[in-house]
Symmetry: C2
Subunit: 205 residues, 2 copies
């Protein structure tokens, strides 16, 4: 179904299309559904065509992880920008957990295997995201940093995300209640005094 019909032999941008297809497969089911053949099928291309752009399956998964880290970073940046002073730790935490819940398979893929030895791109993308997390907010004009995130902030929030993904957090799977739980836990553990109502969430679905 390719060479004799009018279908173009060259795809144009198969590399990007493979990423898209793999992401779709991830969202639709889970990592097990991401096979190079399924990706090729979805791109309307021969089973081995993706190998021209990704040397092996690990490379495709690594590219997916990189994409995820970029997206997570953007989400965190978007969440921290309009945050009211003093609510930054909560907004960031909620955005982090939201991202995990919105992209469960991708989030698991990003943190599943040790990334150190292989694929430096993944490590780099992860570190760039981590920089957003560990950075203190810039000065807000008064000259003093808006808020400092304690050293345990990331482990706490990452644990909340992982356990929420695993379904082991109380309050079932409702997003609003998980939002509230994240807010309560983070404020309690990080000692932010301002506690007014439910967090506003971060705009992500």
């Amino acid at each position: 179904m390719s060479t004799s019909s009018g279908v173009r032999y060259h795809h144009g941008d198969l590399r990007a299309e493979c990423l898209r297809a793999a992401l779709d497969l991830l969202e639709e089911s889970d990592e097990a559904a991401v096979s190079l053949r399924a990706v090729a099928r979805r791109a309307g291309v021969s089973p081995n065509a993706p190998y021209r752009h990704y040397p092996d399956k690990e490379a495709l998964l690594a590219a997916l992880a990189v994409h995820g880290f970029h997206e997570l970073r953007a989400t965190l940046l978007a969440a921290v920008e309009p945050a009211a002073a003093g609510q930054e730790v909560v907004s960031l935490a909620q955005a982090y957990v939201h991202y995990a819940l919105d992209h469960p398979a991708l989030f698991r893929l990003m943190f599943s295997r040790p990334c150190s030895p292989d694929h430096p791109e993944v490590t780099a993308a992860g570190d760039r995201t981590l920089a957003v997390i560990s950075a203190r907010a810039g000065t807000d004009g008064t000259g003093e940093p808006q808020e400092a995130r304690p050293a345990g902030w990331w482990p706490l929030v990452h644990g909340l995300a992982s356990l929420a993904l695993h379904g082991k957090l109380p309050r079932g799977g409702d997003v609003r209640q998980i939002d509230e739980l994240v807010k309560d836990t983070v404020t309690a553990m990080c000692g932010t005094g301002t506690g007014t109502g439910t967090g506003t969430g971060t705009g992500r679905s």
Copy 2:
């Protein structure tokens, strides 16, 4: 290599042997290495023999997870028993992280996929372990509970374990330094005043 030689046709306890073989494969490499055929090979048995005891691969993995939760529970109980008063949160946390680092593939398997809908045994085993975590210590004779673990304790420690497994914790991969980092983080976030020297660890290798 089976029916005509003197080798016994029936294995005796293949169910347990499959579990052992699968655990060995997990420790030697990772979850990807656990195939039913490899398990059967290692048990010296036909490729399809395990299906007599586990209806499909998921069932085997679920049994592995159950085993892991039991083992983790025992480890936590062992760690909490000889703990000095006021050091319980730290000892438990270190034991939890140690278990993750000692059995990386199994730990990931235990928390990889949402366990709610399928395999109630896994959920039950996980909840029994969770009970050890969330329970307050019994009275120590004086009538007052030794220590209360705050609500965010588990997410924090689970996050520490996950990130340590992922290689994203500072201090490289050295166990002693991770021990100290866990101790520092947990005491800082959970507000336990007693801070004397490095934690003793929990006796696990």
